[in-house]
C-alpha cells in the first residue's frame, strides 16, 4: 500500500547536500547499498531513480524486485542530522517514450559521457523517521527497560 511522502521529507530529498542511499537485494537476499544522487520525486511523490548502467548490480536487483515483488529501501540523511528510511517497491521501469527522453536529455546535459538505461519508479510503502531524537523517544516509550541504570541515578 502506497504511503504519502511528507512535504518535509520531499524538501529534504530535493536538497543538494542530502545523502541518498538505495538498498536492493540480490538472488540470495544479500543487500547491495549504493549512494544514488539521482533519486528524486516525481509529481505523484513517487521516488524516481535513474539507472545509468544497464549491467549494474542495482539494475539487476531492481528487475528482480519488480518481477518478484521484493522491497527496496532508500536511506535519506540530511546535513542537519535528519534521517529517514523509505521502504517501497519498484512499480515501473521506463525504458522508452517521452519521459525516458526527458531524463535522457537531462543526463546527457550533465555529462557528455553518460547514458541512461532505465528510469525506475519506486512507490513508497513505509516511511520511518530514523533521526536519533525521534528514535530515542520512541524507544523510551515502548521499552522502558532498555537503558543503563546509572542514567537514572540521583
Amino acid at each position: 500500500m502506497a504511503v504519502d511522502i511528507t512535504e518535509k521529507l520531499a524538501a529534504l530529498l530535493g536538497k543538494a547536500d542530502t545523502v541518498k542511499i538505495l538498498v536492493t537485494t540480490d538472488e540470495e537476499g544479500a543487500p547491495h547499498a549504493v549512494v544514488k544522487d539521482s533519486l528524486r520525486l516525481d509529481e505523484q511523490h513517487r521516488l524516481i531513480y535513474l539507472e545509468l548502467l544497464e549491467s549494474s548490480r542495482t539494475n539487476k536487483n531492481m528487475v528482480r524486485s519488480i518481477w518478484f515483488n521484493r522491497a527496496v529501501a532508500v536511506a535519506v540523511a540530511g546535513a542537519n542530522g535528519e534521517s529517514y528510511q523509505i521502504k517501497g517497491k519498484p512499480v515501473k521501469a521506463i525504458v522508452s517514450g517521452p519521459l525516458f527522453r526527458k531524463y535522457y536529455q537531462q543526463i546527457r546535459e550533465q555529462c557528455d559521457d553518460a547514458d541512461l538505461a532505465a528510469v525506475w519508479v519506486i512507490e513508497p510503502e513505509n516511511i520511518i523517521d530514523q533521526s536519533f531524537p525521534v528514535r530515542r523517544r520512541q524507544e523510551e516509550a515502548s521499552h522502558p527497560y532498555f537503558k543503563h541504570l546509572d542514567r537514572l541515578a540521583k
Partner: protein
Amino acid sequence: MSFALKQQPSELSFEEVAAKYPQFPRLVMLKTDIQRRGVYYTDRALSVADPAIHQLAGTHIFGTRDGILTHRPEAFILRDGTSVLTSPTPLEENPYIVDLCDGRLVLLDKGQEIEEIEYWTKPDYYNLTTSTGVPMSHVASARPQRIYIMPSRYCHFWSDNQGCLFCDIVNNLKQQKSELDLPPKLKPRDVAETIKEALKEPGRFTAICLTSGSDFHGGVPFDTEVDYYIEILQAVGENFKTAKFPSQLISTAFTEKQLARIYEQTGILSYTPDIEVLNEKLFAWICPGKARWVGYREWKQRLIRAVDIFDRGYVNTCIVAGVELAKPHGFTDEDEALKAVLEEAEDLASHGVSTVYTVWVPRPGSYLRGQKNASLDYYVRLAAGLHELRKKYNLPIDHDDYRRCGNHPDSDLGRLL
C-alpha cells in the same frame, strides 16, 4: 475459421502455470501467454491509439492472425519495460483483450484486469519521407529501442514453393504492397537517410537490426543476398563515427567466406541465422528451402564457424517455438519435444552459439494455418531452459535481449544475468 488456439481443457491455466513456476517472472510469463493467445483491441482501446503519438502497425515482415494490417497499435509495453509484440487475433480465438478503463489502457482476461499497458510511442522519423519520396516508416520500423530494417520483403524460397511452413512473408508482402504501397526492396540511399534522421532522436535507439527473405542467387548460393546486405549496411554505417555499431543481421546461414566479407566491409556486430526448428527431420519438412540450399547439419556448422568471426554469444539462432509440435510430422509429446530441442540448443551453446525463441503464431497466410501452438507450460520451460544454457556456458545475449529486440521471452530473462 479456426478455433484451434482456444485453451484446451487439459491445459493448465495461466494462474496454475504461475503457481507451478514461482521462480519464473510473472510479467515475462504474461508476455509469453499474450504472444501465444494473441490480443484483441476494443474500440475504446483503439480510440486512444493516436497516430500522432503512437506507433500503429505498418511494416511487419509477417502478417497478423486476423489478416488486417493497419490502424492498430504495433505492440505495447508492460510496466517492467517488457515489450509485447503480438498479433491482433479474432475474439473467437480467445485472445487477451486490450481495453480502456478509467482512462488507463489495461489488459483483460475473462473480464478481469491483469495489467496496465502502454502503446509504443512513435519515433520522430516516422513523420518524414526520404528524398525519393518514400515514407521513412516504410524504410525502417521502430521498436521501443531498436531500428528494424527489412531491405527485401521477398523470399526466393517461395518461388520454388519451398518457403518455411510457418511463414507468410510473401503473402503478407502482396497484401502490404496493395494496401500500404510498401517498397518490396529498399534502396541504400533511402536507408541511409532514414537512419540519419532516426539517430537525431535522443535516447530513442540502442541497436539496428536487418532482416530479409532468403535469396539463393549468385556465383556461390546467397552471394546476391550477401552483396545486398553489404550495400545496405554500408549505407547505415555512413551515419556512425565508429567503424562498428550495435547491430544484428538476421539472415540465411552463410559460408565463412561470405560472412567474413560482411564482417570486414560493414559495421555489423552480431549474426543470427535462424534455424527455426532444432531437429533435422522436422527442419527438412518445415524449412524445405533452407534444407535444400544449406541443410540442417551444415546450418549448424555455419553457426558454429561464425563464432570465430563474431565471438561467443554474438552468434545466435532463433527457433519458432512450438512448430516442432506441428501436425502431422511434429512431436506428439511436449516433454519429448522440449528434451530434443534443449539437447540441440545445448550442443550449439557448447560451441558458443545461443538459441532464442519466438512463440509460433499459426498465421492464416502460412501453410500451417489453423494449427495450435504449444502450452504455456511448454513455453515457460523452454524459456527457462534456454536461459539456463546461457548461464551454464556464459553466453551474453545483449544484442538480442529485452531491449535490443523484445520478442524472445527467454532472452528477457537475461536482465538478471
